[in-house]
């Protein structure tokens, strides 16, 4: 009896080991496939002009120079950077301040008119009138050529709101109820009990908002007139594509500079990722306290 159980456990652990090894191999493979193009971007951005002329796919560095980066950083990069940081920073904070409580409230089944709210909100998932009606609205609000035109219309995303709402629905109601018994109102219950438990999803959504503010391009061109208010994405793209004007007046922009532009465009967001990532798993510990 005893021995049979032990043998079972050993067989189990062998199968598990095999699975684990396969798993590691598979994930490594996925990572390699994902990383190869990124590696190419990085290596190309660090290459000298002569090594990237005429389209080559670099995976092994032939030269190492930061000239392309210097070129991009000296082209007024910081102005675009600050504009983007302001928009993405303020926008993300506002977005979270609105999304979190709303998601929480909509997750409460007793909420008055909850059904109506959800239906009205869900409708905005599928209907989109496009940029021109929004332009007209922004114009009526007097926000054309104002940085707030890139914040206000995007400080809520139905997508993210529903993700947050559904996560909050998975939190057992007993937690909120016990907070009520302790004399908390809904707001305090949200802040003290629910937010700490929802940290993983809230940090993920924060990141989604930040990236969406950071990478927004079309609206930034349409709503902003003065080029000194352009965001980083607009500025960087203008830098690359000016050379592409069909008339060919611009200088040639070699691949290394283009790639440096790509790296510098995403680097600021990438750098905040590790800070956010720490919170993706904190829910684990809280999960242990449950019930």
């Amino acid at each position: 009896m005893m021995t049979a159980k032990r043998a079972n456990a050993i067989r189990e652990s062998n199968a598990r080991k095999a699975f684990r090894i396969c798993n590691v191999i598979f994930l490594t493979l996925v990572c390699v496939i994902v990383v190869i193009p990124i590696w190419n971007v990085l290596i190309t951005s660090l290459a000298a002009d002569k090594d990237v002329m005429g389209g080559v796919y670099l995976l092994i560095p032939r030269s190492l120079t930061f000239k392309s980066y210097a070129r991009v950083l000296n082209s007024g990069y910081m102005r675009g950077f600050w504009n983007s940081l302001f928009i993405a920073g303020v926008g993300t904070v506002l977005a979270m301040v609105i999304t979190t409580p709303m998601g929480f409230a909509l997750a409460q089944k007793q909420l008055v008119a909850r059904n109506f709210f959800m239906k009205a909100i869900s409708l905005t998932l599928v209907f989109d009138a496009g940029i021109i009606p929004l332009y007209v609205l922004i114009r009526m609000l007097g926000l054309i050529d104002n940085r707030w035109a890139l914040i206000l219309p995007f400080m809520l995303s139905t997508f993210n709101l529903i993700i947050v709402k559904n996560f909050m629905m998975s939190i057992p109601t007993s937690f909120v109820e016990s907070a009520w018994l302790d004399g908390c109102n809904d707001l305090m219950a949200l802040i003290r009990i629910v937010i700490p438990m929802a940290v993983p999803i809230l940090s993920a959504v924060t990141l989604f908002y930040f990236v969406s503010f950071w990478n927004r391009y079309t609206e930034a061109v349409m709503f902003i007139n003065n080029s000194s208010k352009y965001t980083l994405q607009v500025m960087l793209r203008a830098l690359i594509y000016q050379s592409d004007g069909s008339l060919g007046e611009g200088n040639i922009v070699y691949d290394n500079t283009k790639m440096a532009v790509m790296v510098l465009g995403m680097l600021p967001v990438m750098l905040i990722y590790p800070f956010v990532q720490r919170y993706f798993v904190t829910g684990l510990m809280l999960g242990g306290v449950k019930e």
Partner: protein
């Protein structure tokens, strides 16, 4: 008077109690308020624009009501029908091939023992999400170039012919799907990983003691926990698949219009770029209605399989 009394009797909520309920929920309502105002201003107000689909707005200086003419034109145009077919096909491929991928990855990441390995994998697959579509377009054109791209180098070293993926009608949709997976895989995985973190470790321990293997633990504990998230994500994906635009816009070219032109690119070229806004709005309205049907269908299904509907 009699009527309202009857009503109150039926639903057990006299007017006074509604007021009391509102007062009791004042905090909750306050939390919803800013968002509701935002939806009214920035979403519903812009929907007035959709009404332009019944006019010739933009096409001529004096706006006039044209009834269903824009829609008539839509359904007669071979390009529109082609775009609609492509949109549905690309959406279908996205759902079939892209959608399960982040779930699988998240589950596999969850099986990794070392926290550092988990974080590294998550970080690496998340990087492409930071790129905008323009960048992804450039990256894939380089990657798949027949002369210099690494994919064709590998094909050639295996003794195969190189393939011009970006201009090949048989390959282009596959390129769209693969690049979509490449860019969005990390995004989806993050949501599932976050949800997986809510699973109570004690449940696993209990299952272990009961002699449940890892696979069965996943089947009976993990999957049920993330099931609502899976359905939510499916629904959210469905609501947006028809709006695919940026990706196609930066990656397609004239030679693959027949397999890649989608509703939004069609409406951009023939509505916005020619100033024919009424026509563009007709496409938007059409997209909205079809998406609505898709979402309602899924929601109906989810209602039957889950206790609560997602929306």
């Amino acid at each position: 008077m009699k009527n309202s009394g009857q009503m109150a009797h039926v639903i057990h909520h006299p007017a006074g109690s509604l007021r009391r309920r509102l007062w009791k929920q004042r905090w909750l309502l306050l939390m919803v308020l800013p968002g509701i105002l935002w939806f009214i201003l920035f979403k519903y107000a812009t929907y007035a624009g959709l009404a332009l689909s019944f006019t010739n707005y933009g096409f001529r200086k004096t706006v006039s009501f044209v009834g269903l003419r824009n829609f008539e034109r839509l359904f007669r145009s071979a390009s529109f029908l082609n775009a609609f077919r492509n949109t549905l096909l690309i959406s279908l491929y996205n759902i079939v091939f892209y959608f399960p991928f982040p779930i699988l990855i998240a589950l596999l990441i969850n099986e990794l023992r070392s926290l550092r390995a988990r974080r590294t994998v998550q970080f690496l697959i998340y990087i492409p999400y930071f790129f905008s579509w323009v960048v992804v377009g450039t990256v894939f054109v380089n990657l798949l170039s027949p002369s210099s791209g690494i994919v064709n180098q590998i094909l050639r070293s295996l003794g195969m012919e190189s393939i011009y993926f970006m201009s090949d009608v048989r390959w282009f949709r596959k390129v769209l799907i693969l690049s979509y997976i490449w860019k969005q895989m990390g995004y989806g995985a993050v949501i599932y990983v976050a949800t997986l973190s809510t699973v109570d470790p004690q449940l696993y321990e209990a299952a272990e003691i009961d002699g449940c293997g890892r696979f069965r633990q996943v089947l009976y504990i993990t999957l049920p926990t993330i099931k609502p998230t899976i359905i939510t994500m499916l629904l959210l994906n469905l609501s947006h698949v028809l709006m695919i635009f940026d990706q196609v816009m930066v990656m397609y070219n004239a030679s693959v219009y027949s397999v890649s032109d989608v509703l939004q690119t069609f409406s951009y070229r023939e509505g916005i770029l020619t100033g024919n806004l009424g026509f563009g709005m007709a496409v938007s309205l059409f997209v909205g209605i079809v998406s609505l049907l898709l979402v309602l269908g899924t929601n109906w299904i989810s209602k039957h399989f889950l206790d609560d509907s997602i929306l």
